[in-house]
């Protein structure tokens, strides 16, 4: 869907689908059931772009990052990285090659670093593995350079520290230094600030912005926080129950949200600058876990604008304004055939 014709596309994701087995419909056999965590999500990521994947828990945003990083196999779809489908990569060598260009930063800076290893170990390891360099002064120099890049100074002191001697923000900077060690083109950042103290979150977001400027990095920024996505991202994709609901340039999405779900999200975010005149949120309920979906819009049960059609037909995604995509029958979008997205091949038959 998104503008894929330009040559600056780094990653082009088409029809990405991920279903998890969810047992059988009855104890004595019955049909196999699947949780539809991600269904038919398409987007492209451009060089130097920060693309936000925004959604509540259960929206499928982290699953997308994990599929793209090779942690989960995909159920269907393709993800072309410089023309090669990374969802079909097999073998350690190919996977290593891909991972040297696409790195991941996780939410939990406490869990993602080994507590008994120094900072130097964490950052030198990718250098040794990917560049097959030997330990030595060149590796040290590169280590110090990386630490300086992420704002951990003096690097000589920081390198010798253990994770528990660092604050949460410093640990997350180590995670970024480790990701940068292999000179990646893309960083998949999954909620990189949500476990940090509020006063140091902006430091990490600003670091991400600076690395984009200096190194031309592209990011997939995965978050539940629309405000931080607006702060950092060029474009934002809104996900709900595994479906892409809306995608637009960040400022346009804030100014003119089209999908009722996006509007609901924007209404719900605290807006300290408008203490008065707040709009009440009336949409009750929570994001469903989609098992064996029936046709219909996944937001229909909570939607203030729901129409009869929304409960029997699944809206498709269409570009209703330049670079502004939406999956909603309030706009001129096609209907998706069948009960699940094309190419999934899974359903309760």
């Amino acid at each position: 869907m998104a503008v894929a014709e330009q040559s600056s596309v780094v990653m082009d994701v088409q029809g990405l689908t991920k279903h998890f087995p969810a047992g059988r419909s009855s104890l004595l056999g019955g049909e196999r059931r699947f949780v539809h965590a991600v269904d038919d999500v398409s987007f492209s990521l451009h060089r130097g772009e920060i693309l936000g994947l925004v959604g509540e828990s259960g929206s499928g945003k982290s699953t997308i990052a994990r599929v793209l990083s090779g942690l989960y196999p995909a159920t269907a779809g393709q993800a072309l990285f410089h023309g090669q489908d990374v969802l079909k990569l097999r073998g350690r060598r190919r996977m290593l090659g891909y991972r040297s260009r696409v790195q991941m930063v996780f939410q939990d800076p406490f869990g993602s670093l080994n507590p008994v290893k120094t900072v130097a170990y964490h950052i030198e390891r990718p250098l040794l593995i990917h560049h097959r360099t030997k330990r030595g002064s060149a590796t040290r120099e590169r280590l110090y350079e990386l630490l300086r890049t992420v704002g951990l100074t003096p690097p000589e002191d920081v390198a010798a520290k253990l994770p528990n001697q660092l604050s949460g923000g410093q640990r997350q900077r180590v995670s970024f230094a480790r990701a940068l060690a292999v000179n990646p083109e893309v960083i998949l950042a999954d909620e990189p600030i949500s476990m940090l103290d509020v006063s140091i979150r902006m430091g990490i977001l600003n670091l991400m912005g600076r690395l984009r400027q200096e190194q031309g990095l592209s990011y997939l920024y995965i978050t539940h926080d629309l405000a931080s996505a607006r702060y950092l991202c060029d474009r934002i994709i809104v996900l709900y129950a595994g479906h892409l609901m809306e995608s637009a340039p960040a400022e346009e999405l804030m100014r003119e949200p089209l999908h009722p779900y996006t509007r609901l999200l924007l209404t719900a975010v605290p807006k300290p600058r408008q203490r008065q005149g707040r709009v009440r949120v009336e949409a009750r309920g929570e994001i469903p876990t989609v098992v064996s979906p029936q046709p219909g819009c996944r937001f229909a049960n909570r939607c203030p604008n729901v129409m009869d059609r929304c409960r029997v037909e699944t809206p498709g995604v269409a570009e209703v304004r330049p670079r502004h995509f939406v999956r909603c029958f309030l706009y001129d979008v096609p209907s998706v055939e069948g009960r699940s997205a094309p190419g999934t091949g899974v359903g309760n038959g």
Binding site: G169, D197, S199, R230, L264, L265, E286
Partner: protein, 343 residues
């Protein structure tokens, strides 16, 4: 308000001493013993909560805000100790209460809703049974009456009463937190202490629950001490806001005033840490450095190593900032700040 701090009681009687206070905390200090020495989680904190008010308590993790909630309920356990101060509820000293009085105080007078409570529901009993048992333990009522009350409470917080038969795992996070709020309201408390009640929830559910809390508060008139790291939420919700840093209150002001005219550099830094979805998308800097270690906090003003106004250009100011602890002072009507810039 220039008196020096003394061991007990403290000096900076913030809005505390107000005679109409429901809950008056004065000079509260709490320490946790750690292998490295005592961590001073709360130091010389004074505030009051008035009837019908929503007082917001903002601060980052580890600043002592949850400890204040636990101390107020007298739930601090070894290795934590209340080392100084007074907590008065309707002019009765909570710290001197007998276990019988405490039993009446907790839940009936002051109820606590914490972030983790929603995960503390018993997994092998229906939630309704847990509410009914709790009601029967505290009130002289029969099972049928308790059942009816539980149904009313569920309706009050927006859950269908038939859900009383559900087990915790059958309820979503939002519904579990609502049932905790329902339990907290069961005995019509005068004060509700809410410690990060919506932090683990998604933004739409959070908004929905906050609206519900506001509605219930307007209807029943209880006062709320609302504790969270999310200052942007407090600015919307609270009547007054107290900002906490490294175990101390650094600023207390009406919410509107704090939003329009934050005085403490830490409060300003926090305000500069929340991106917004409206208005211009300006660059925000947050605050450099990291929150301090409470076992060995910085000398003088605990915020000075991160403070943009602590530059050393003014030698005498710098000496004050690094060696002397600023006291809370009322620098404008109802606006209290602990900062050497406002001497």
């Amino acid at each position: 308000m220039t008196a020096q701090a003394v061991a007990f009681g403290g000096s900076s009687l913030e809005p505390a001493a107000a005679s109409d206070a429901l809950l008056a905390v004065t000079g509260l200090s709490v320490e946790y013993l750690t292998p490295r020495g005592p961590a001073r989680a709360v130091q010389d904190v004074s505030f009051s909560l008035r009837p019908g008010e929503i007082l917001g308590l903002a601060g980052e993790s580890g600043c002592g805000k949850s400890t204040i909630a636990h101390a107020t309920m007298r739930l601090i356990k070894d290795p934590g100790f209340i080392t100084a101060g007074s907590i008065r509820f309707r002019d009765v000293e909570v710290l001197n209460m007998s276990s019988g009085a405490l039993r009446d105080f907790r839940w009936r007078r002051v109820a606590l809703v914490s972030q983790s409570a929603m995960n503390a529901l018993n997994p092998v009993l229906p939630v309704g049974t847990q509410i009914v048992d709790a009601l029967m333990a505290h009130e002289r009522i029969g099972r049928r009456q308790a059942r009816r009350r539980a149904e009313e409470l569920f309706e009050l917080v927006g859950i269908e009463p038939r859900r009383l038969r559900s087990y915790a795992h059958q309820l979503s996070g939002g519904m579990r937190q609502r049932s905790i709020i329902a339990m907290a309201l069961a005995l019509n408390p005068e004060v509700l202490i809410m410690d990060e009640p919506t932090t683990a929830l998604d933004v739409v559910v959070q908004r929905d629950i906050l609206q519900q809390i506001e509605d219930l508060q307007a209807r029943f008139g209880f006062a709320i001490l609302f504790i969270t790291h999310d200052l942007s939420l407090l600015v919307e919700l609270s009547t007054r806001i107290a900002v906490m840093y490294a175990g101390r209150l650094v600023e207390v002001a009406p919410a509107e005033e704090l939003l329009m005219r934050p005085l403490h550099p830490y409060t300003k830094g926090l305000m500069n840490s929340f991106p917004s979805i409206d208005g211009a998308n300006e660059r925000l800097e947050g605050i450099p450095g990291a929150p301090p270690d409470l076992v060995s906090p910085p000398s003088g003003c605990a915020f000075h190593p991160r403070c943009p106004s602590c530059t050393g250009e003014d030698r005498s100011l710098y000496r004050l900032q690094t060696s002397s602890r600023p006291e809370l002072q009322e620098v404008a009507p109802n606006h209290w700040v602990a900062c050497h810039l406002y001497r």
